[in-house]
């Protein structure tokens, strides 16, 4: 037995011996005496504890404790040090693990690096410098640079009538660097603007899937064969009355956005307008919540060349949940969702029945309700007061049943 072990064992034996000793209340014919004897016995145990603690080397936290502490950091907004990171590398990547490291250089200013890796070999690495809370909390500044690799992004062609093939895909690698500003002129009014240099490289897919070039042409996949570099300017303005973006039972979001993609090669530049409305309607003091969403994305100029991989798309866990990710693509998209949510537990657990319907089209005047595709589903969400770390849903669309695991609210 090593010396420290022997010391610890001796201390433990002493401790138990003291604890096991009868509390001597001999001659105690008063209540005070009995209690005082009890307290004296506890004082002796405390002294023995202290002696044992002094003899024993300080024990580092257990692996389980450290794992719990590490996992809990994932619930924080900007945890310092190493932290788990629950996001997607890119839509359709499947189950993803991620982690990051953050260091503060000021009160709130910090730099962070994150890495994500998914079951489909999707990868994302990003370094960012955030400086929130300027101008009395009304201005946030963020700079970022990163790289992602989406190894097998499905492509079914253009339009709402595109066939539901499953094995045609492309691989998209994207390097990006830029800066974003978020301004909050009022409590509910949010303006965001940013400029990002985005360099795309398109390749053949991994996973034994059929390369796009084998099936499609530049007509059915505009921009096929090119790997453009964009200067992407984005601006949005929103009135946001939700208590939190990633979990809300009341309030709404009314947002318009404009994105300009300037192709450094000059061919594939385009402008896109977006509008998004989200409204949560609580019923009977949030016993139930009706959540509604409407979303429109439109490519502004009919003459602009929008490459296939940047076209508005529907399908997947955040849009048409009963269809594959990026199932439908075209120059314009419209989406509407409705959820009937019942609050099983106000602290942590919601259920929802939902309905999504949407359409893509090459011309905006072709977006007609009669052509919308739709799905229904049921979902369970584990949530915190401000976030939805786990969303599990089953959706039924026209192309089968889809199981969805998400790490954020659907909308």
């Amino acid at each position: 037995v090593s010396q420290p072990k022997a010391q610890r064992r001796a201390a433990a034996i002493l401790l138990c011996a003291i604890a096991a000793a009868p509390v001597d209340i001999a001659g105690q014919d008063t209540r005070e005496g009995i209690v005082a004897a009890e307290q004296a016995a506890k004082a002796a145990r405390i002294a023995a504890d202290a002696a044992a603690a002094a003899a024993a080397p300080a024990r580092p936290p257990s692996t389980l404790r450290r794992a719990i502490d590490f996992g809990a950091k994932g619930m924080l907004d900007e945890p310092p040090g190493f932290f788990p990171f629950f996001e997607s590398a890119y839509s359709g990547g499947g189950f993803t693990l991620g982690a990051g490291y953050r260091r503060f250089t000021g009160d709130r200013t910090n730099w962070a690096v994150i890495g994500l890796y998914s079951i489909r070999n999707y990868k994302r690495f990003e370094a960012s410098l955030s400086s929130p809370g300027h101008a009395a909390g009304r201005l946030d500044v963020r700079g970022l640079a990163g790289w992602r690799d989406a190894t097998q992004v499905r492509y079914n062609g253009l339009g709402i009538d595109s066939p539901p093939g499953k094995d045609v895909a492309f691989r998209m690698q994207q390097a990006y660097a830029g800066a974003e500003l978020t301004v909050k002129p009022g409590r509910r009014f949010v303006v965001k603007t940013g400029a990002i240099l985005e360099d795309f490289t398109l390749k053949d897919p991994m996973g034994g899937l059929t390369p796009l070039e084998d099936v499609h042409t530049a007509v059915t996949a505009p921009g096929l064969g090119v790997s453009p570099t964009y200067l992407h300017f984005g601006t949005s303005a929103a009135i946001d009355s939700r208590p939190a973006a990633d979990y809300a039972r009341r309030g709404g979001l009314y947002e318009i956005s404009h994105h300009r993609y300037v192709d450094t090669g000059g061919t594939y530049g385009f402008d896109r307008l977006g509008a998004r409305v989200v409204q949560h309607i609580p019923i009977l003091r949030e016993t139930w919540v009706i959540s509604l969403r409407g979303q429109l994305q439109t490519s502004v100029d009919a003459d602009d060349q929008v490459p296939y991989f940047l076209m508005p798309a529907l399908g997947g866990g955040n849009t048409l949940r009963g269809y594959n990710t990026f199932r439908f693509r075209d120059r314009h998209s419209a989406l509407a969702s409705g959820e009937f949510r019942w609050i099983v537990n106000r602290m942590a657990f919601d259920m929802a029945l939902f309905y999504d319907t949407g359409m893509v089209a090459s011309r905006i005047d072709q977006l007609a309700l009669r052509d919308f595709v739709s799905n229904v589903g049921v979902g369970a969400r584990l949530h915190t007061p401000a976030s939805t770390p786990l969303r599990v849903e089953v959706a039924w669309g026209g192309e089968g049943v889809h199981l969805i695991f998400g790490g954020s609210a659907a909308f």
Binding site: I25, A26, A40, A43, I46, A50, F104, L284, R285, N345
Partner: protein, 547 residues
């Protein structure tokens, strides 16, 4: 005679009963029974800061049901007459001694709040609560200033001021609490003022830090801010306490907290003032040194109370449901949420200064804190009766004095709050006082006249039993616990003692008193009162309410 008490288990904690002999072989009543003060003879000077993770505490309380699994055990810290002795946890005030409305309106401490002049900001208050500061006044006293949040003037500050006075009058440790008005130019900084920003690196506090915190606070029309100032408790802060188990480094803490009656009784007091934050985060332990003895004093801190929390009105279901109740969650899950509960429709008095508070639908029997504590779950009918008796002792004037301490600008708010508290008081007394045989204040005169009061009748909850009371008299052998009947009498006060009543000093008698005729069922279960004969007469040494 030697009496020995063995600890439970090899290294287990030992529970102490202040009420019964610790060994079956010992006498039932000891020489100093009933004790009026819990002995605390060991020094707790070695206690160190103990941090209880609030999330872990919440989850454990919600899911694990910690503490003694025997939820029907008599409280361990009551004395032989079924009362709670004074201690570092509790000081008997209302019921135990006459109190005035003025005294309750003034609350703990004799001061009038932070001294006039500038206040030095030492740090912000803890994140997660109301915006506020720790300040030092010109009298060198330290205060916690907590402001109302934007949009809800007077709600949180008023609730703390009112609830604190009520808890203090009941007997809990509270510190001086005052409503104050803070002008920005009264707040000064000093080199040691510190703040810990999101980076986690503490630094010297700046003026813009003060301004940023004030921006979260409700600003009055004159540019000032209303705050509740709570004096920092004396002594060395050593963390918080749980509502189960004992503090490992406090030698005087030998009663598991779930078996402390004053903590169990928060089931009733909490229901009255809607004190939904019953958890370790809302407690404070400080080491108090008096002379050569250091003890740990246990404070209750007020988070959400009445209808308000630090962030505004309490949730609609606050007090109606805990954060997690498995049967309810299961039913909601399977029925698409179609499970109806009173909070969904209760007409709250939504006065902006009061938050969500009401009394007419309030049911004390179903009231729940956010997370039920082990002490809450261990409360028995005698614990809730003990508490309800104290609630009943508050007169309208006392309640109005407590409400006035909230310094609500609207007289309607003050009146509304008083009215709601009185309605809730009535519901509590109606629920808990008749639930056991409610006889109290037993006395036996030297010439054998028995006297007692009926707490439920005194509170006008139930009429006196028309047939009076029956008293079964017996001599009691304190050494063996054997009782020998000496007769039964009946009358409005149980009648006069039988002629066989002994008169020898040192003898004991037991009188078991029950109601006769139409009365609540529990009243037919006799309450046992034990008297010891002294040279001057009989003194009460024991009360046995539930067997």
């Amino acid at each position: 005679m030697r009496t020995r008490l063995r600890p439970i288990g090899v290294c287990g904690a030992v529970g102490v009963l202040l009420v019964t002999a610790v060994s079956g072989a010992g006498p039932r009543f000891l020489a100093d029974d009933p004790v009026a003060r819990e002995p605390e003879r060991q020094s707790a000077a070695g206690a160190t800061i103990r941090t209880i993770d609030p999330t872990v505490d919440l989850v454990v309380n919600l899911l694990a049901h910690p503490g003694d699994p025997d939820s029907n055990a008599l409280a361990h810290n009551v004395n032989t007459i079924d009362e709670v002795p004074d201690s570092s946890w509790f000081t008997n005030r209302i019921v135990a001694r006459p109190m005035t409305a003025q005294e309750i309106g003034r609350g703990p401490g004799a001061g009038t709040g932070p001294a006039a002049g500038t206040w030095t900001v030492l740090s912000p208050t803890s994140p997660g609560g109301a915006p506020g500061f720790i300040v030092r006044d010109t009298g060198n006293r330290q205060w916690s200033l907590a402001f109302d949040v934007k949009g809800y003037p007077e709600a949180a500050t008023g609730a703390v001021a009112v609830a604190s006075r009520i808890l203090w009058a009941i007997g809990y440790w509270q510190e001086e609490t005052h409503i104050v008005t803070v002008a920005r130019d009264r707040l000064m900084l000093e080199p040691s003022s510190s703040i810990t920003p999101p980076s986690g690196k503490a630094r010297r506090m700046r003026q813009d830090d003060v301004d940023q915190i004030l921006r979260q606070a409700h600003r009055g029309p004159d540019g000032s801010y209303r705050a509740v100032a709570v004096m920092t408790p004396p002594g060395r802060a050593v963390g918080t306490f749980r509502y189960y188990g004992t503090r490992q480094d406090d030698p005087n803490d030998v009663v598991p907290h779930e078996h402390r009656r004053e903590l169990r009784a928060l089931k009733v007091f909490g229901a009255w003032i809607n004190l939904i934050d019953l958890d370790a985060r809302h407690t404070l332990d400080t080491v108090i040194t008096e002379g050569d003895r250091a003890t740990i004093r246990h404070y209750l801190l007020i988070g959400s109370a009445l209808g308000a929390s630090a962030g505004g009105p309490v949730d609609f279901d606050a007090g109606w449901e805990s954060l997690y109740q498995r049967p309810l969650a299961r039913r909601r899950l399977l029925r698409l949420g179609f499970v109806f509960r009173p909070w969904q429709t209760v007409p709250y008095e939504e006065h902006p200064g009061l938050g969500r508070f009401e009394g007419h639908v309030f049911d004390p029997l179903t009231w729940r804190p956010r997370a039920p504590t082990a002490a809450f779950l261990s409360a028995r009918a005698d614990d809730t009766f003990w508490a309800a008796r104290r609630v009943a002792a508050f007169t309208r004037e006392m309640i109005e004095a407590a409400a006035a301490a909230g310094r609500y600008s609207s007289p309607e708010a003050r009146k509304l709050l008083s009215d709601i508290l009185i309605v809730r008081q009535g519901r509590i007394t109606a629920a808990y006082l008749p639930a056991v045989n409610p006889l109290v204040d037993f006395a036996l005169s030297a010439d054998g006249r028995l006297a007692f009061r009926n707490a439920a009748v005194d509170a006008s909850v139930v009429p006196a039993p028309p047939g009076g009371y029956q008293a079964a008299w017996a001599t009691f052998d304190n050494a063996t616990g054997q009782a020998v009947s000496i007769g039964t009498t009946t009358g409005p006060q149980g009648g006069a003692a039988p002629a066989a009543l002994p008169a020898t000093p040192g003898t004991f008698v037991r009188v078991e008193i029950s109601a006769v005729g139409a009365a609540p069922p529990a009243w037919t279960m006799p309450v046992g009162a034990y008297f010891r004969r002294n040279a001057s007469g009989w003194s009460l040494v024991g009360v046995e309410r539930i067997r």
